[in-house]
Subunit: 202 residues, 2 copies
DNA sequence: GTTAGCATGTAAGGAGTTACATGATTTT
DNA sequence: AAAATCATGTAACTCCTTACATGCTAAC
């Protein structure tokens, strides 16, 4: 096994689930998914594509017009059946490092392709990770045996506030999701490519 | 050159500027500096210490009681003169990747050991980086040619709000710093090993 | 005297980056 | 036809992690 995984695989599979694309185009869309900062480089992307193809998760319709020697052309990749399965697995998985900032962001970006129950689990997982962080930070600030200078204190205060903000945000999202699930009770099972489910938030 | 740099070097130098420490203790304090998550591992820390020592930035008073063979004992490291210079350089430097989340956090954590002017430059650098991000995100949301699903939109909205929050926070800090600088006008020049310089904030 | 926690390291590998090298297509 | 930009790849390197291996010191 050369490439194990990471956010990149997940992001690529997610994007290819929406539409077939070639590497260069993928790299541009990845900026959108991973946030405009943290763009990945070709030196990372192309090896990743090769490996995903080797593993059978994606394919390309080359071999047609494979005429001259050294013919270098656009490879348009698309998901295979195994790739779709793999994507759902990866989206749903609760392994370690699934809840850090980046991994959560990517999973969230593909929410409209994700099962309602899985969405809920992801949001709740993220929330509990943040609660953990919050508890940790609070006790650290209260344990007055360490003399913290005013800058350190200010940094921690600001960090704590940010975490609290995100928790409130998650709470709203979770509530909305639950309403959505409650509204259509008997719809368990497979992933839907369906859109929105948009319960309007006031 | 084996190890180039990274936040770790900076964090170690900063902590050793406060007090001499051995590796194990350093690793515990690093959690505080880098945020309780993102703890670095010994496999990272010890090589880093060796390299900093080899480069002449830190020393240890071993060689005393170097009696038996294979004697393995606590190495207490402290900054050398070169190390102090290096620290000030690194804190002040405006190179690429100086303004990302982690690098900024570490620099901020050592603000009480940092020159007032450098503090200002760091805060302003961070702010302009965030403004850039903000502009980018706004245009991306407004360019309606891309049909964004409600989740992507929600994610971007939340991201934008977070950035705006941090900018406001930075604005307050910068204002406070400027008051401080204005209060003692003629103090330009070399980095100080002096403590705090803490202009009391009301 | 053995478990638990302090303390220091090394080897292998993961997940990426930068810098380079090259080919194809569109624009000017 | 030159320049820009689209498109694909590779080699070497970086910074970090995991897993391992070792030894010292205190508590039970």
């Amino acid at each position: 096994m050369s490439r194990k995984s990471g956010v990149l695989d997940l992001a690529v599979l997610g994007l290819l689930h929406e539409s077939s694309l070639h590497g260069y185009e993928l790299s541009k869309r990845l900026k959108g998914v991973l946030g405009p900062f943290r763009a990945i480089s070709y030196g990372s992307l192309y090896p990743c594509l090769s490996e995903l193809q080797r593993a059978g998760y994606i394919t390309t319709d080359d071999s047609a017009s494979e005429s001259g020697p050294g013919r270098r052309k656009k490879h348009v990749y698309k998901l295979t059946a195994e790739g779709k399965e793999r994507l759902q697995e990866q989206l749903a998985e609760g392994g370690p490092s699934t809840w850090d900032d980046e991994a959560f962001g990517v999973r969230f970006a593909f929410f409209s392709q994700t099962d309602a129950e899985v969405r809920l689990r992801i949001l709740e997982g993220r929330r509990s990770r943040l609660e953990e962080r919050k508890a940790n930070a609070s006790t650290e600030m209260t344990s007055t045996r360490e003399k913290l200078d005013r800058y350190t204190l200010e940094l921690q205060r600001h960090g704590l506030e940010s975490v609290e903000r995100e928790v409130r945000w998650l709470n709203e999202l979770i509530a909305t999701e639950r309403d959505g699930v409650a509204a259509r009770p008997h719809r368990a099972g497979r992933a839907a490519k369906s859109s929105a489910a948009a319960t309007k938030t006031p």
